[in-house]
């Protein structure tokens, strides 16, 4: 874990964030219709706004300045942590996002933990057992092929409407989090358990597995104490993918369960052509993605020191 490695990763991270910001900026200015009209109301469709109001908005947001000047200001604000002003909410984008951040983070974190635990249980229980294995690989295929919102709708139908165990929507207490957590976790568990089981089976074939058994350890102890560690390595490389799935998944899950959160903010903003909010959410998600991924890469090198010496 050299300083050079960190510098390189940081450079790449900055490049990715800058690229995403530039693409977002281009998006803002490719937007069909006059942004001043969108701000004035009616999503740009109403043509009756007085020229005076539009001029005032243009002056306030600087829409008439040369593109380069606007780009420079956009980047300058971004560096200071300012994502601009929402077109529709009369609020800074940063405060729109930070108001909703907590509920989304709770949703995503809980789902990540649940998905991990579910896949671990599934993998440990089925690795190297042909019957259980083929059953669970069918389950995994179904989970991976099911859109998140459909999982949510099925869970709602059964557990909220039929059985009445959980609230139908809203956000009060742990009860209202169970189904959204499950909805996000199940598709993730489908993929993770597949990878974990393959890792476990490879570990169980190795000589050390036999040695452990010969020493008198039970099969379960072998799996939990010795083989799991080896199976976790490939899972770590999948964490980046899992993070992306989570960040995208919250958008859909928040809609299904009518929960407040970043995803809802983004969908509302897309429908209202509120581009600064959309780009703000995308940028925040991208930064989170880059930072967490870099951290995971570093962790990967700690867990498996062989990598540090080979890859530069």
């Amino acid at each position: 874990m050299t300083t050079r490695w960190w510098l390189r990763r940081a450079g790449l991270g900055v490049l990715v964030v800058w690229g995403a910001a530039t693409l977002s900026f281009l998006g803002l200015h490719l937007l069909k219709g006059d942004p001043a009209r969108i701000i004035a109301g009616g999503g740009g469709a109403v043509s009756g706004q007085s020229q005076q109001i539009l001029d005032q908005i243009n002056a306030q947001y600087g829409f008439r300045q040369p593109l380069v000047v606007q780009y420079g200001r956009f980047l300058g604000e971004l560096v200071t942590g300012d994502l601009g002003m929402s077109y529709q909410l009369n609020q800074r984008v940063t405060s729109v996002i930070s108001d909703q951040l907590w509920s989304t983070v709770v949703l995503a974190l809980g789902a990540a933990v649940l998905g991990f635990v579910l896949s671990l249980v599934l993998a440990v229980a089925t690795a190297g057992r042909p019957r259980a294995r083929s059953l669970s690989s069918t389950v995994e295929l179904v989970l991976v092929s099911t859109p998140g919102f459909f999982v949510g709708i099925l869970l709602l139908t059964v557990f909220s409407f039929r059985l009445g165990w959980f609230p139908v929507f809203g956000d009060d207490g742990i009860g209202s989090l169970v189904l959204p957590w499950l909805t996000l976790a199940l598709p993730i568990a489908g993929t993770l358990s597949l990878v974990m089981r393959e890792g476990l089976e490879r570990a169980l074939e190795q000589p050390f597995a036999l040695t452990v058994r010969a020493r008198g350890a039970s099969a379960t102890r072998l799996r939990l104490r010795h083989a799991v560690r080896h199976a976790l390595l490939p899972v770590l490389t999948l964490s980046g993918w899992m993070l992306g799935a989570l960040l995208g998944g919250v958008v859909v899950v928040e809609t299904v369960f009518a929960r407040a959160g970043i995803g809802q903010v983004a969908v509302t903003a897309v429908n209202g052509r509120d581009l600064p909010v959309v780009t703000g959410v995308v940028l925040v998600a991208t930064i989170a993605f880059v930072v967490i991924n870099t951290g995971l890469d570093a962790l990967y090198r700690v867990v498996d020191p062989r990598l540090g010496s080979v890859a530069q």
Binding site: G19, L23, V144, S145, G148, I153, G244, V270, T279
Partner: protein
């Protein structure tokens, strides 16, 4: 292409297919039959009969019965007819997005692989950037710029899938470019353009067919998700994601209008995955996403 494995397959392929157990699996034939069925009703929805927009308030929220196999929705419309009429839009979304992503990704990857150091570096960093934005969020951004609608959703999905294609095509191009036959062709004095056109491109493309197949399922899911969020074809459409989004609001009254379109999505995606896997085993390569 889809019959059971012939004898004498290389051991590697058999091992990858699960130690030969899958060789006699009924999965692939079933998947083909189901997809043929979906394909036929997508092209000729009127075969099933009935008008998907026929409203009958007296028959709203019926559970499945002999008359309405999939039940009825909040306006008394027949869910089976609506699912059948939505097949075309849903498949078109998934296939269109994948085709667009494949074409863009192939050109992108070939340019990176053959265009020299600078082009390669620029093309791959752009791919890195796009792959760092979570799929659904990137798609949201594109739809926000283009405005909602079926074509926007297809373009949005293609934008997020094409960097993946570009990476694989680039690697494949670099590999093919170093093979003996390409070097022989060059040594024989063929112009670079004909080497690329006759020897490199034809050998880069076939594995892309497998990758494309594996991506159709993901495209259908993404398309249905974006429609579910209300960004796809107009809200009253019978596209599967839209059907689910309408049914979501009436879950307390009826389960059928939500469950059947969802099952249609799941079964279609599973069938495509099964066939994609089979193709992959036959091509004997491993193309990671």
């Amino acid at each position: 292409m889809t019959t059971v494995e012939p004898a004498g397959q290389p051991l590697a392929a058999v091992r990858e297919s699960g130690a030969g157990r899958r060789a006699h699996s009924i999965g692939p034939p079933l998947a083909v039959v189901f997809l043929l069925l979906v394909g036929v009703v997508a092209l000729f929805p009127d075969l099933v009969g009935g008008n998907p927009e026929a409203v009958d308030p007296a028959d709203a929220f019926l559970d499945p019965s002999a008359e309405h196999l999939f039940g009825t929705d909040q306006l008394g419309r027949d869910v089976l007819t609506r699912v059948v009429h939505g097949a075309g839009a849903s498949l078109a979304l998934g296939l269109g997005a994948t085709a667009l992503a494949a074409v863009v990704g192939i050109v992108w990857g070939l340019a990176a692989g053959l265009g020299g150091r600078f082009v390669d570096e620029a093309a791959m960093r752009l791919a890195d950037i796009l792959l760092s934005v979570p799929t659904i969020l990137l798609a949201l951004l594109v739809v926000a710029v283009l405005g909602p609608g079926g074509p926007s959703v297809a373009i949005a999905i293609a934008v997020s899938l094409s960097p993946g294609f570009a990476r694989v095509v680039r690697v494949q191009t670099l590999v093919v470019d170093r093979t003996g036959y390409v070097q022989s062709a060059t040594a024989l004095g063929l112009r670079r353009r004909s080497v690329v056109g006759r020897h490199i491109v034809p050998n880069v493309l076939p594995p892309m067919l497998v990758l494309a197949t594996m991506n159709i399922g993901a495209s259908i899911i993404a398309g249905a998700s974006l429609s579910f969020l209300g960004l796809g074809p107009e809200a009253s459409s019978s596209e599967w994601g839209s059907l689910l989004s309408q049914a979501r609001n009436y879950l307390q009254d009826a389960w059928a209008p939500a469950v059947f379109p969802g099952l249609a999505v799941v079964l279609t995606v599973i069938s495509i995955s099964v066939i994609g896997r089979e193709l992959r085993i036959r091509f004997e390569g491993r193309y990671d996403r």
